[in-house]
């Protein structure tokens, strides 16, 4: 296929036409008395520049500009083939930058940019409760408030409550299992609007207590347990001890809330005592057509105010807040992702600067060629066009290679992605059209960025000079300035990235050296949760399990807690030291509370500071007791001995509660959050439906797992056991997210430093080549090796130094966006900035050392003969 070749007929035609013109003109000149030998030349002069005339005429043909462009590309391709070293380095550099952008942008695209996978997603909102004056606290919702919201609002088509974040116990089909899922009110599926793959969603009747014997399955559960058999509809499952009929299967990819929901059961909310008081619901709603968030917020604020006066005990100082679902679900990952996107953006810029420098250096060698082109009639625009076409070819090659790198990079990224990172829609991350377009745009933008300066520069050169010089040895002044500016920019951006990575590293090392307050070694944990028929039975059930587990050989001690530390969960309550509860909850002091069994502290290695731990005598019906942590003691009993004091706790336990012990502080919700005042309640006296067992082993805790499970099943063969892991794994998992982010930042910073080092090496090394003669003269005149090396080092280190200073200024301005991501260090941490500056200077010095060595070894005689 040679379709892009010029139309040969038309080309020949033009040639023939112009030739005949010349002949006629020569003939005429001769008739006018010009000598026969002079006539052709006179004719030629009358016509003007032959090539230019042809070029200008070709312009008039239809696809001339396209043909010319393709011609340029072909010429460019030939050039690149002729200097493979240059081409490979340039394409690889660009590919690295574009590849990193491809990978990160794919994630940003899927997570932040793509609309949520539901019909009309802009109308989906979350409604939270919030304490007045605490900003967007996004507290979960109290059931009665939800019921009132649903009845009174005028802004939403529908509203649903979700009791999620817990696991559902499935029994009666194979092994008992605890699976992520949610209890939802019946409008849930209608609000999201995703039609079921099979069967139906819930109907209103299934929301009535006693009629909730229905379950909807996720696609993956249906695949796993029913082998994708359509007859699964109508089959029976026991979920949370209620026998249920499978009424629907959701399509693949549907998961709400959370990325791995497997089952949904109806939440039979009713205005009964049992639902009142605690806040634990997430509320999802669909805005009516044409209602804005602001309007809905106004509506909800008014309703919240009514509820505040109607039920001051629970609602005093509480309000309702409406947030777009899309924003809400990506809130936590938005900033880290944007930081990473910024980091790869800098990497691309550095890559561009490097390639621009390569082009500048090469262009000096092409001055002769360009000079010839200009002499043959190419205008400045034409030269510019040619050079930019070549650059475009380069960036297209870089783009293609970058997509490859991006593809594999993304694959690696997703494999390494810790599975507890709350990355919504991680499964939809892929290289789609938008990613292609984004990276193509990046590639074309880089063409302009790195190509325009060298191209403009070359096209402006005086043609006579370049022709006279033959093969010019020295770049012109402007050229050298550009090269240096590029290197300084590279250094500055590399320092910026290095600062970011350095801060992340320092922050991470501080995070993992936090004193947890417990000893994670040799501790095995697992989740056992069983909604029990009665309050009392639940407490006794857990005690029976613990007794059985304690008897397993190898178990040193065992206990339970309702939320395991470092799994981002804790319960909140409030208390008063007065004889009775205050008129409303927010008038009392807030505190976290956790329900634990005896021996929990001993198992976790958290020392008691005063008083006693719970013991076997603290039972249902005996006097209510509590243990508090030191933070609680310091905050609420400063200078007093809290042991023996009584407090009234807002819920979950008969009041008053006597404090029997004080325990050392330990991190609970997240490693980065300082311990909060916490009340520990005894499991038999205040049982919860969820429980986490902790067992300290005499040796490797993993070896206990099977025996412990067997022990649990001796108590109840239908008891699902899930999330079996060691406490060390839990600890490490809790920092997986910052560790992952740190890893990426380090990789990007390393690429940036490497590119910048290559950049400074290239420029200094080129300059040494250019100055060989000068250095030779200096040596001949008596300069010593030290002087020569100093000359070269000064040149390079000056550039690096300016870059570092500019980079520091940039870092001071930019790293503040990292503030909320950093743990216990400020974004302008002097030690970090100092260290990374030195690191970059040292790397630069190493990069400059090679050309400096070459400069020292210049033989004056050879150098002087060189030209």
């Amino acid at each position: 296929m040679r379709w892009w070749r010029r139309n040969p007929n038309r080309e020949a035609d033009l040639d023939r036409e112009l030739r005949s013109h010349l002949e006629l003109e020569a003939q005429e000149q001769q008739e006018n008395g010009v000598s026969p030998s002079e006539a052709p030349w006179a004719a030629q002069r009358a016509l003007g520049n032959w090539t230019r005339t042809k070029e200008a005429t070709r312009e008039m043909w239809k696809y001339a500009s396209l043909e010319r462009f393709i011609q340029d590309l072909r010429y460019g391709a030939r050039l690149f083939r002729r200097s493979p070293g240059f081409s490979i380095v340039a394409v690889l550099t660009l590919a690295l930058g574009i590849g990193a952008n491809t990978a990160i942008f794919s994630v940003v695209n899927a997570v932040l940019l793509k609309p949520l996978p539901y019909p009309d997603p802009d109308r989906l909102v979350h409604v939270w409760e919030g304490k007045v004056g605490e900003g967007a606290a996004k507290n979960v919702v109290e059931p009665f408030n939800f019921l009132d919201w649903r009845e009174r609002n005028r802004s939403f088509d529908q509203m649903a409550a979700i009791s999620g974040g817990i696991t559902l116990n499935v029994t009666g089909i194979g092994q008992p299992e605890a699976l992520p899922g949610a209890e939802v009110t019946t409008d849930f599926f209608d609000i999201l609007g995703t039609p079921p793959l099979m069967g139906r969603g819930f109907i209103r009747e299934e929301g009535i207590p006693g009629h909730d014997g229905a379950v909807v399955l996720s696609y993956s559960y249906w695949q796993r347990h029913f082998g994708a058999d359509p007859s699964a509809l109508g089959r029976k499952l026991t979920v949370n001890r209620v026998p249920r009929v499978v009424i629907g299967v959701m399509p693949q990819g549907f998961s709400f809330p959370g990325p791995k929901a497997e089952l949904w059961t109806p939440l039979p909310l009713a205005r009964t005592k049992m639902w009142q008081g605690g806040r634990f619901l997430s509320v999802l709603a669909r805005l009516k057509h044409g209602v804005t968030i602001a309007k809905a917020q106004e509506d909800m604020t008014a309703i919240a105010r009514q509820l505040e006066t109607e039920r001051p005990f629970t609602n005093k100082n509480w309000t309702a807040e409406v947030f777009p679902l899309a924003e809400d679900s990506t809130e936590r990952v938005r900033l880290p992702l944007l930081v990473l996107l910024g980091a790869v953006g800098f990497v691309l810029l550095i890559a561009c600067a490097n390639v621009a420098n390569l082009l500048l250096m090469r262009s000096t060698g092409r001055l002769h060629e360009i000079g010839v082109r200009v002499a043959l009639g190419a205008g400045r625009g034409r030269i510019l066009q040619q050079l930019l076409s070549e650059n475009l070819l380069l960036s297209l090659a870089g783009w293609a290679a970058g997509l490859g790198i991006g593809y594999w990079g993304l694959k690696g990224l997703l494999v390494l992605l810790p599975n507890n990172i709350p990355l919504p829609r991680a499964d939809s991350i892929q290289l789609d059209n938008r990613v292609f377009l984004f990276t193509l745009a990046a590639a074309v933008a880089t063409t302009l960025l790195f190509g325009l300066v060298p191209a403009l520069h070359v096209s402006r050169l005086e043609l006579s000079n370049s022709l006279k010089q033959g093969s010019p040895r020295t770049g012109t002044g402007g050229n050298r300035v550009f090269r240096r500016v590029f290197v300084v920019m590279e250094m500055a951006m590399a320092l910026l990235l290095l600062s970011g990575a350095g801060l992340a590293m320092r922050s991470f090392s501080k995070l993992i050296s936090v004193h947890t307050g417990f000893d994670p070694q040799r501790v095995l944990t697992m989740q056992v949760s069983m909604p029990s028929s009665t309050f009392q039975a639940a407490g006794q059930y857990m005690e029976r399990i613990l007794d059985e587990v304690r008897s397993v050989p190898g178990v040193e001690s065992a206990g339970s807690i309702h939320f395991l530390p470092l799994t981002e969960r804790v319960s909140g309550s409030c208390f008063t030291r007065e004889a009775r509860l205050a008129a409303n909850l927010s008038a009392m002091s807030g505190a976290d509370y956790l329900v634990i069994s005896r021996d929990y502290f001993r198992t976790m290695g958290t020392p008691l500071a005063a008083g006693r731990d719970f013991n076997a005598h603290d039972q249902f019906g005996t006097a209510s007791v509590a243990v508090i942590n030191q933070s609680f003691a310091q905050q609420y009993f400063p200078g007093e001995d809290p042991v023996g004091r009584r407090i009234n706790v807002c819920w979950t336990i008969p009041n008053p509660v006597e404090i029997v012990g004080v325990v050392a502080d330990a991190r609970q919700k997240e490693l980065r959050l300082a311990p909060r005042p916490t009340i520990f309640l005894a499991n038999p006296q205040a049982p919860r439906v969820f429980g986490q067992l902790v067992m300290r082993s005499k040796s490797d805790p993993r070896r206990l797992a099977r025996a412990v499970e067997a022990a649990i099943h001796r108590v109840n063969k239908d008891q699902p056991v899930s999330a079996v892991s060691t406490m060390e794994e839990v600890l490490s998992g809790s920092v997986a997210e910052p560790r992952f982010q740190l890893g990426l930042l380090l990789v990007f910073a390393a690429i940036a430093v490497l590119l910048a080092a290559i950049g400074v090496y290239g420029v200094v090394s080129y300059s040494v080549n250019q100055r060989t003669r000068e250095i030779g003269i200096r040596v001949a005149l008596g300069a010593r090796a030290g002087n020569v090396a100093g000359l070269v080092l000064r040149e390079g280190m000056l550039l690096a130094g300016i870059g570092v200073v500019l980079g520091l200024a940039g870092a001071l301005a930019l790293t503040r966006v990292l503030r909320s991501l950093l743990f216990e260090i400020t974004p302008t941490d002097p030690l970090t900035l100092f260290t990374v500056s030195w690191l970059l200077l040292i790397v630069s010095a190493v990069a400059i050392a090679a050309p400096a060595r070459r400069a020292i070894s210049v033989d004056p005689m050879v150098a002087l003969r060189h030209e």
Binding site: E17, S20, H21, A56, M60
Partner: protein, 118 residues
């Protein structure tokens, strides 16, 4: 590009097209004839740089105002020249350009020689 300095009057942008069309009213002609005709009729005041003639011819051809064909010259049957002739669209275009030109010269004249007016 360095420009040679010469005495001739540069053609106004766009007028070359009109002159070519006008020249072809007398019948088909090849490029050289057109150039010479413009030069001679204006007593060599208007000199067409031959180089700029051909792009113009090809442009007019693409627009469909003129058509081209290789034909043997009258006396010398061995030599062929590329003859251009006016098309119907070209004739219409010429009329339009002519009236535009008239309007332009009249307007310029009014400013340059106000006394001679009326």
């Amino acid at each position: 590009m360095p420009k040679e300095s010469d005495e001739r009057i540069e053609l106004l942008q766009g007028t070359l097209d009109m002159l070519i069309l006008r020249t072809l009213v007398f019948g088909p002609a090849h490029g050289h004839q057109i150039a010479k005709h413009i030069q001679r009729t204006t007593d060599d005041i208007l000199q067409v740089e031959h180089g700029s003639l051909y792009p113009a011819l090809h442009r007019l051809e693409r627009k469909g105002w003129i058509a081209a064909k290789w034909e043997a010259a009258g006396k010398d049957l061995k030599r062929e020249f590329k003859y251009y002739r006016l098309t119907a669209a070209g004739k219409k275009q010429l009329i339009a350009e002519e009236s535009k030109w008239k309007g332009l010269t009249r307007a310029i004249a009014r400013i340059m020689w106000p006394a001679e007016e009326s």
